[in-house]
């Protein structure tokens, strides 16, 4: 019984971690959407979504330029507007750039995006400010952003991705329910059934002598707790110790799952210090 409780708890923790991770990614993607300006404002930021390719993977590169001399709105994760020609790249891209000089040459003197600006810690993504002598104004694909995040009622917002994520909270929910929670429940029920012979006899005796239903219920809850709590505790401790490493190696269809939360990277500015 404690073993089946531990297995169930472990699967439940994996499931909830995946759910939380997917929800966090979805939230960050929403926060990074460019809210299209309904009317021009001096603080607008002009941007155009392009793409780049590295190692066979295509990733978005967003060209940016302030609409006026005034201070422009900044995307999440960008603490200061880059200088002309300078890039602000995602932690994942920065890590790759630190390993390959050819990629580093594409983004010389780059800044690194904060955790709030990327979907996940190894997402490849870059903002690049257009160099001196070029501008985005008047371009057909240019968008005038008045801010970032959820679009206002009646407004429009542009996701800064090449294509919408195929991994939705709903699909992940269905996945974890089908492949983790359900098998976990089966393990738990089988464990309970296997351990229930003695308990069944005890409850039969108590019912025979006329024990009230509420007393039997209280006893059942207490017994189950006593049997299950050690397993739940062991699973929780084990998961807190190895969970992030286990998830770090788990592939999700259509998405790369990375170790830990990108919030953990917030304090780091050195690409070499980021986890693989």
């Amino acid at each position: 019984m404690p073993v089946s409780a531990a297995v169930f708890m472990m699967l439940l923790l994996v499931a909830s971690s995946l759910m939380a991770m997917t929800q966090r990614e979805a939230h960050r993607e929403t926060q990074r959407m460019a809210v299209v300006a309904a009317k021009p404002s001096p603080s607008d930021l002009l941007l155009t979504i392009a793409n780049d390719v590295w190692g066979g993977e295509q990733y978005p590169v967003v060209w940016v330029e302030p609409a006026t001399e005034a201070e422009a709105v900044l995307p999440p994760g960008v603490s200061q507007l880059p200088k002309p020609g300078q890039a602000v790249i995602s932690p994942g891209l920065a890590r790759l750039a630190s390993q390959d000089s050819r990629l580093a040459a594409r983004y010389p003197d780059h800044l690194v995006l904060g955790s709030g600006g990327v979907r996940s810690a190894d997402e490849l993504f870059a903002y690049v400010r257009v160099p001196e002598g070029r501008d985005l104004a008047g371009g057909q694909a240019t968008v005038r952003a008045q801010g970032f995040g959820s679009h206002p009622v009646g407004g429009r917002a542009l996701p800064l991705t090449l294509e919408p994520s195929q991994v939705t909270v709903t699909s992940v929910s269905a996945g974890v329910a089908g492949f983790l929670v359900l098998p976990g429940l089966i393990v738990l029920v089988v464990g309970l059934a296997a351990a229930s012979g003695v308990r069944d006899r005890r409850f039969e005796i108590l019912r025979s002598i006329g024990a009230p239903a509420r007393a039997l219920l209280a006893l059942a809850v207490l017994e189950t707790a006593i049997l299950a709590v050690p397993g739940l505790l062991v699973a929780s401790i084990l998961w807190s110790a190895i969970g992030s490493r286990v998830l770090g190696g788990a592939p999700l269809v259509g998405s790369v799952v990375v170790g830990g939360t990108s919030l953990c990277l917030g304090g780091s500015s050195s690409p070499s210090s980021w986890p693989a």
Binding site: R202, I205, L206, R207, I209, G210, A211, P212
Partner: protein, 232 residues
């Protein structure tokens, strides 16, 4: 004291009729035996009489309370307060000591821990197992287990005692001691007693013997014990 009346009680399991329109009446403070071979339906009959199982048909009335018309929870409450059950193997809870087992029904009825403890001690003394009060069932002999079981069944002074093969797992010496104890103490309390057994040693200590065959009670014998007590 309870008057028991079961009328046209039937009990079916898939593909088989265990009890077939059986009638049974026991007067208040009467002690009777139901005999029958293994598989004849003795346990099913007791389960129907005490309300653990709802009969497929017929009715069971104890002192004017129609047991079969009560909800399962009310039947449980009735069983706890009015009935005492003795089982073939004692059926003590293995995690509890002898005294805790005897005190259990009292505690379930709302008695304080101290009160239940005192009354359980008295009953263990009455069935001569008081020196093993703190022993767990695994440390008791078969005869001791059964005597503790009798103490548990009688500690709350039930008006009706139902005993299912109470000596089925005992040797002859213990059979006689347990049967005399059960019948003797129940008579002292004035409880009505129904015992199922296939042992004539037990049957001879009760007032009347009924025989269960093919789901019906066939004979009605008056025992020597009853004659000795002036019964008809």
């Amino acid at each position: 004291m309870a008057r028991l009346e079961a009328s046209t009680v039937s009990f079916d399991v898939p593909g088989r009729r265990i009890l077939d329109g059986l009638d049974l009446a026991a007067e208040a403070a009467e002690c009777l035996t139901v005999m029958g071979p293994s598989g004849s339906g003795k346990t099913s009959l007791l389960n129907c009489l005490c309300g653990i199982t709802a009969p497929s048909g017929g009715s069971v009335e104890i002192d004017g309370t129609e047991l079969t018309s009560l909800s399962p929870s009310r039947r449980s409450a009735f069983r706890l307060r009015r009935l005492g059950l003795v089982f073939q193997f004692g059926e003590l809870l293995p995690e509890m000591t002898a005294i805790e087992n005897v005190a259990l029904p009292l505690r379930l009825m709302g008695a304080s821990r101290e009160d239940a403890q005192v009354r359980a001690e008295e009953w263990l003394e009455r069935v001569a197992v008081n020196e093993r009060a703190e022993a767990h069932p695994g440390e008791l002999s078969g005869g001791e287990i059964q005597r503790v079981g009798i103490a548990r069944a009688l500690a709350h002074r039930p008006s009706l005692v139902l005993a299912d093969e109470p000596t089925g797992a005992l040797d002859e010496d213990n059979t006689v001691r347990v049967a005399e104890l059960l019948v003797g103490v129940a008579r002292e309390l004035g409880s009505t007693v129904v015992i199922t057994t296939h042992d004539p040693l037990v049957a001879s200590r009760t007032d009347r013997v009924l025989r269960l065959r093919d789901g019906r009670l066939e004979q009605n014998e008056v025992t020597d014990s009853s004659r000795a007590m002036g019964g008809s």
